[in-house]
């Protein structure tokens, strides 16, 4: 293996170096200086994100276990951006003393390990690598979810997450073993060659789909989501709802398009019904929520229900729409979570009626929240509209008009509960609203980044064209 080959794994290598540097820097820094880890990490991770965008080659490593293409690099870059925003949003939380971390380096190290796992998962060329990546991506998260040691709910959430993750990966492994048994290989391309309408193989597919569906929290595998999101610290929740979910969607699409493409009509049906269920149930539950984290949890379930509209039919245009949608969803959801985090860190308030009259005291935060929610609801001119519209268009082009109609009706229902938050902030009167929150520079930077993303990505048509140029020929 030459150095040039090794550089194919650029993302993972740079991430590992970053993680180690952060971990070691804590040993060197004196006790009083531990807060300096944050700027160091932010700087390193920024460099890492920029390096990700440098031109790269595609290729394979380890006899095909690891592979990388322009599209996979794009996915990793999207994840990097998401994690970068999560990091700068969590600076304020880490500086306050509610965390269970005696050393902040630990927090960053765990998150970066999880990200490395996701990168390996997306890059995997066989099911073993895929499984290892998945586990590496999930297990550190349980530690993070449970990290607020003093809160009962946080520990509960951690246990729920690890149990659910164990169950889902058990199911997934069973599916993989069935595939191995029937095709004699764990390599994607070999499995794809030996794949036909064999009941056992379709069953294997179902198990694998279920395993990933847990991660994306598609109904009926969503039950852990709300509790975990509520119990976890806000920044971890935003990581779970954006980065973790996006990575699982990416690998799901890759698997469906490459390995399971021969049974497209089976998974079309499955995606159809899960999409309808996920959207509808996510929406109906979101309406009743008072806690904003739970609210955003159900909203993110509903959002996940839109994703199958792009996958269904198995077109590259749909694939591009999915990536585009996730990119926009990343900025919108992180914008909303950023505001919730800022408020929660400053005041500890997380309920919707705490936000009554929020606009009187915190104009900028309310506007960011409103834009993010409008983007989630798919209201023009913010980017969410474009993301949803393209998903609908690609489903309509495959002839799924009824599904599109159900989805659009669901988008309208979702508008209702997003407007409830807008109503609380802008319309409801409150004698003593949340006082003026002065968030630190990191939080401000992250919210500005999210707002720019929300406003600009939709109008910039070439972003979509760029994604589309990469997905071309995936099948």
């Amino acid at each position: 293996m030459t150095l040039e080959n090794l550089l194919l794994m650029r993302h993972e290598l740079v991430l590992s170096v970053t993680a180690l540097v952060v971990l070691l820097s804590e040993l060197i820094l004196s006790k009083d200086d531990t807060k300096k880890v944050i700027p160091l990490l932010v700087f390193l991770f920024l460099i890492n994100t920029v390096i990700g965008f440098l031109p790269a080659k595609s290729g394979e490593l380890f006899g095909g276990m690891y592979r990388t293409t322009g599209l996979i690099i794009l996915m990793k870059n999207i994840l990097n951006i998401g994690v970068f925003i999560v990091f700068i949003q969590s600076a304020g939380w880490l500086k306050s003393n509610v965390t269970g971390f005696e050393n902040m380096g630990g927090y960053f190290f765990i998150l970066i390990s999880s990200l490395i796992g996701m990168d390996f998962m997306i890059s995997s060329g066989d099911f073993l690598m895929f499984y290892i990546g998945l586990e590496l991506a999930t297990i550190p998260l349980a530690a993070l979810v449970a990290s607020e040691k003093l809160k009962e709910k946080s520990s509960e959430a951690g246990v729920k997450l690890i149990l659910n993750a164990a169950l889902s990966s058990g199911i997934l492994l069973f599916g993989i073993s069935l595939l191995y048994g029937t095709t004699g290989s764990v390599y994607f391309y070999k499995v794809a060659q030996g794949f036909y309408y064999n009941t056992l193989q379709v069953l294997a597919f179902m198990f694998i789909f279920t395993g990933i569906a847990f991660k994306i929290s598609i109904v009926p595998f969503h039950l852990w989501t709300a509790d975990v999101y509520e119990g976890a610290p806000v920044n971890v929740t935003s990581f779970l709802s954006v980065v973790s979910k996006a990575s699982a969607v990416f690998i799901l699409v890759i698997l469906l398009f490459t390995v399971f493409h021969s049974i497209i009509d089976v998974w079309n049906d499955i995606l159809y019904y899960t999409a309808v269920l996920t959207m509808t149930i996510g929406n109906l539950f979101a309406i009743r929520q008072q806690n904003l984290k739970r609210f955003l949890a159900f909203s993110s379930i509903a959002q996940a229900g839109f994703i199958p509209l792009g996958i269904i039919g198995g077109t590259t245009l749909g694939f591009s729409s999915v990536i585009y949608f996730l990119l926009i969803y990343l900025f919108s959801n992180l914008g909303a979570f950023g505001v919730v985090a800022a408020v929660s860190n400053a005041t500890g308030k997380e309920n919707m009626n705490d936000y009554d009259g929020f606009y009187q005291t915190n104009k900028a935060l309310s506007l960011v929240m409103m834009l993010s929610l409008f983007s989630l609801a798919g209201i023009p001119p913010v980017a969410g509209f474009f993301g949803k519209f393209f998903l609908f268009t690609s489903a309509a082009r495959e002839g799924y008009f009824l599904l599109v109609f159900i989805a659009v009706v669901n988008a309208t229902i979702s508008l209702y509960y997003y407007l409830l938050v807008v109503k609380a902030m802008f319309i409801n009167k409150n004698e003593n609203p949340i006082q003026k929150i002065s968030s630190d520079g990191y939080m401000k930077a992250s919210l500005i980044l999210c707002t720019l993303g929300i406003i600009l990505i939709g109008f910039a048509g070439y972003i979509f064209e760029f994604i589309n140029s990469l997905t071309f020929g995936v099948k």
């Binding site: 245009l317 023009p380 509209f385 519209f389 599109v404 009706v409």
Partner: protein
């Protein structure tokens, strides 16, 4: 530079000017200046359009310009106007400018108010200049969503309920609409058109199969029809109008509801003519109900805004009714009615707002004799009322005349019976208008406090006078406007007219 792009650039600049303004006075002035420029532009556009036509340009759309936006989906940013959109843009220009003037006194969150108002108007302008269904839909939603904040924050009465109801009903309508336009897009690959397209001009050259039209015509028509207060989806309109602040009621009844009529004509009827001829009767029944029911509804209401909201349901029903007749004269009447109703209903809501500010009630049972204390406003109100009931010399007459003459020329009995029923609305309209005028303006003053009311101030006078000039101008010299419209109706009617001798 394309003149139409200015309609989108000027609001953006205005919003920036408002954002950097310090005082409330600066905010108001920048809003008024920006929208004043929009008004001048929209009037200028009429003359530019006429000049271009007289130069012998016979394209369907003028001032067209197309930019590629999302190439892989063949989504364009495509703009252009014909006589119909030109006249509706002029209407929008007038209503938004007078709307800004009547909102001069808004004190609570002034900056946010004017920004939302201007965003709303941008949606409307953008809608009328769009030639691409994607951008049209985008601007449609852009116009709807600021309504929520405008009604919710600055409204009166049960404003939260009304705002939510209005937003959700219109967004629900846009759900139907979205599926409808996606249906057009997906089926746009026919002989002679190799690529999927949202462009209206390209779509109009395609003969869609009748089976496709049957599915998507009702979706598009209802989608736009909800905005045009089509029975039974009109219920958002009375609640929304009565809770909205003055300028928003003006814009909403004056312009936003016209987007519904325009969309029905331009998208539903123009692009799917076969289904329009085949299924038109269902919607004719619905619009007939709209017209008569709206007028009866207005009779029993006691709140001034509710009366005008129901009257709007009736008048906008008339617009959709006339469009469905697929007759040139009545379609011409429909567009005239859109403009006429836009102007007079804006005048109505402006006056109601002004009266409410003085009397603090909108209930006609507690009012009376306002003619004695508020002569200026009262005379304006009477003029608006007369325009509404179709007095010759004002705008309402010429519009309704065209509609009824055109509609009755339909040879089939069904259409004639429907026309006769709809005609009865003239009488009912006269009843509720005269009743309100009598109760509100004439007779003795019922409330002692009303004796000390002050008549209109400069910005109120300015906005009402502009509207009255437009109404009277349209009523006295209808021909040039009518010609502007009717020539542009030709391509639409040609596609539709299979039954008419014209």
């Amino acid at each position: 530079m394309n003149i139409l792009t200015l309609f989108l650039i000027v609001p953006v600049l205005t919003v920036i000017a408002i954002l950097i303004s310090r005082t409330k006075e600066q905010i108001r002035v920048s809003a008024a200046v920006g929208m004043g420029i929009q008004l001048i532009q929209s009037i200028y556009l009429i003359f530019a359009y006429l000049a271009e036509r007289s130069r012998g340009n016979i394209d369907v759309m003028l001032f067209t310009k197309t930019w590629k936006w999302f190439e892989s989906m063949n989504i364009q940013f495509s703009i252009g106007v014909d006589g119909i959109s030109v006249s509706l843009i002029a209407l929008t220009g007038i209503v938004i400018f007078t709307g800004v003037l009547t909102s001069w006194h808004v004190d609570y969150l002034t900056k946010e108010f004017f920004i939302s108002l201007i965003v709303l108007s941008t949606g409307v302008f953008g809608f009328f200049i769009s030639l691409d269904l994607f951008t049209m839909f985008l601007f449609f939603e852009l116009a709807v969503i600021p309504m929520y904040l405008l009604i919710g924050i600055w409204g009166s009465g049960p404003k939260e309920y009304a705002a939510m109801k209005l937003t959700l009903m219109l967004m629900g309508a846009s759900a139907l609409l979205l599926v409808g336009i996606l249906g057009l897009y997906v089926n746009s690959v026919q002989t002679g058109n190799p690529e999927f397209t949202f462009n209206i001009v390209d779509l109009s050259r395609i003969d869609l199969p009748i089976e496709v039209q049957r599915v998507f015509f009702p979706m598009v028509f209802v989608g736009f029809g909800v905005l045009g207060a089509l029975f039974p989806f009109h219920t958002w309109s009375p609640d929304g109008h009565s809770s909205a602040p003055t300028a928003v009621s003006m814009l909403h009844a004056g312009v936003l509801m016209k987007m519904g009529g325009y969309g029905c004509l331009r998208v539903a009827m123009y692009l799917m003519p076969d289904a329009a001829n085949e299924m038109g009767w269902i919607f004719i029944i619905l619009t007939t109900i709209s017209v008569v029911y709206g007028a009866f509804g207005a009779i029993v209401q006691k709140d001034l805004k509710y009366i005008n909201a129901y009257s709007s349901v009736s008048h906008c029903g008339l617009v959709l009714f006339a469009i469905l007749m697929s007759d040139k004269i009545s379609s011409n009447g429909a567009v005239l009615q859109m403009i006429s109703h836009g102007l007079m209903t804006a005048l109505f809501f402006a006056l109601i707002g002004m009266i409410y500010e003085r009397t603090h009630t909108r209930d006609i049972r507690f009012m009376g004799g306002l003619m004695k204390v508020l002569p200026f406003l009262a005379v304006c109100y009477m003029i608006a009322g007369f325009a509404s009931l179709g007095l010759p010399g004002l705008s309402g007459f010429i519009a309704e005349m065209n509609i009824f003459v055109g509609a009755f020329q339909h040879s089939e009995t069904f259409y004639r019976v429907a026309t006769v029923i709809v005609c009865s609305s003239i009488v009912i309209t006269a009843v509720y208008i005269l009743r309100v005028v009598a109760a509100l303006l004439l007779g003795p003053i019922k409330n002692e406090e009303f004796n000390f009311l002050k008549d209109a101030v400069w910005f109120e006078k300015a906005s009402t006078v502009i509207l009255i000039i437009a109404i009277a101008g349209m009523g006295l010299a209808p021909l040039w406007l009518s010609e502007l419209i009717s020539e542009s109706l030709n391509p639409i009617i040609q596609k539709l007219s299979l039954l008419n001798i014209y």
